[in-house]
Amino acid sequence: MKEKFKVALAQITCKRGDKKGNIRKIEDNVVRARKQGAELVIFPELSVTGYVLRDQIYELAETIPGQSTDILEKLAGKTGTHIVFGLPELSDKTQATIYNAAVLVGPDGFIGKYRKMYLPTHSVFEEKRYFRPGYQTAVFETELGKIGLIICYDIFFPEVSRLTRLKGARLIICISASPVTRRTFFETLTTARAIENTAFLAYVNLVGIENGLQFWGGSRLIGPNGKVVAKTKYDKEDLMIGEVDYSDIKPIETFVPILKDLRPELFDKLKENAEKL
């Protein structure tokens, strides 16, 4: 397992409903990132289809693994990279329910998927109308260490990132479609999630305008000390490479021993009180 590797933050604009075009763009970015030494390339939430789809989601959702995942699995194999992307997932079992999913593929094929647990349905967001929430956090054993996946609004709920960390993830990946009016929240929370879990956090946001919503980009790789290792431009497509070095974690965890000081008994209290809101 590698202790040090390069990650590419592939901040792209997606054309809504154009899977072929978006996959071509993903391929182009993976090839460019690989040339720069990246072993992991991360794309935004719902990057295969675009984000503001409304009823078109029903036509665009597909199983995972499935057609798009197969194409990107082959790309991962051919280029020897790990790739994370987003896709509306049609449940293979029910052939009727849809999830907002993040997918991880690697040089040896499909690794795993995560179904977004917290679906924003307020303000301009209407995810619960379309998606069924996921029920499990996701951590996958890879050549690049244990990787946890979360999606966008999940980051407002520290327990999701925390669970991935407690399951051993040293790199938490958050793929996102965050409009510009939320920028301050995400800039704060991405740093907080990295610090409070003494983990690397890679945040990759969508960019461009969909249905009047302006996505701000600003993707970043944050170290366990909260320092920004790499950051993309605001409001523009960009590809930025940063390095994950897991050896940075131990000294930070020694300096501010957050994981050592966790108090599990408080988690029961959290549950008790959350049920009584």
């Binding site: 009823d55 209407e126 305008i209």
Partner: protein
Amino acid sequence: MELTSSVLDLNWSEVETKIRYFIKDYVEKSGAEGIVLGLSGGIDSCTAAAFSALAIDGEKVFGLLLPEQETYNTQDIDHAKFVAEKFGFKTQMIDITPTLRLFYNTIPVFEIADKICKGNVKARTRMIYIYYYANRLNSLVCGSSDKSEVMMGYFTKWGDIAADISPIMDLFKTQVRKLARHIGLPKEIATKPASPMLWPGQLAEEELGIKYETLDLILYGLEHFMEPEEIAKQLGLKRELVDKMKRRWLYLEHKRGMPLTTKIEYRTVGADFRLPHTFY
């Protein structure tokens, strides 16, 4: 929440960037060759026109001055021409008085004394001219409605509100005035009393019965779910005035959306036929 004028202060550079980006992106993706807009010489249309020119280049922007005899105002026309020159876009002036007379003379039930019905004919006639030009020039119509007017329903249905995009519609009137100054519109235009120009001497604040400085704070409070009583208390207003504005806002929602139909089939336009506004 404390309701002071500072709540309406925004980072105007950021707002400028967002609006320019929005206009440019929409025009490019739609495949339109430019923008047509009605240019009254008022603060809103001057601001929307200036932004259009800043976003896609003045060469692709066409401003239509559509005065008519009853409300003809030399100062407004001068202001419209000044903005066109400053931001480098073309204009054309068409006196719509003869067209209006045709309507007045051919509508059997036309009532000259009903100034609202008559005024709406003016707004809708302007809309016809603007859309004709947009069709001919393969352009989009850029609207110039602001949030104060839209929340108050202070516009003519299918008239001045009609547009393909309305880039300043999420800004209250007092915010539009500040933004206009930020992009270099002169104070004389930015602070001029607003009027829809539907009859002589019509002034928006007189008709609404409130100054925009106060109205915008009331609307801001309502937008943020504040109770009318708290808004009235903080602004030192009578509760009745705030209630009146709230009623007007709520009752005129029908002017802001698709026409209502009754649910009969599987998916219904304007209800649960939910598609993105555009697919670009």
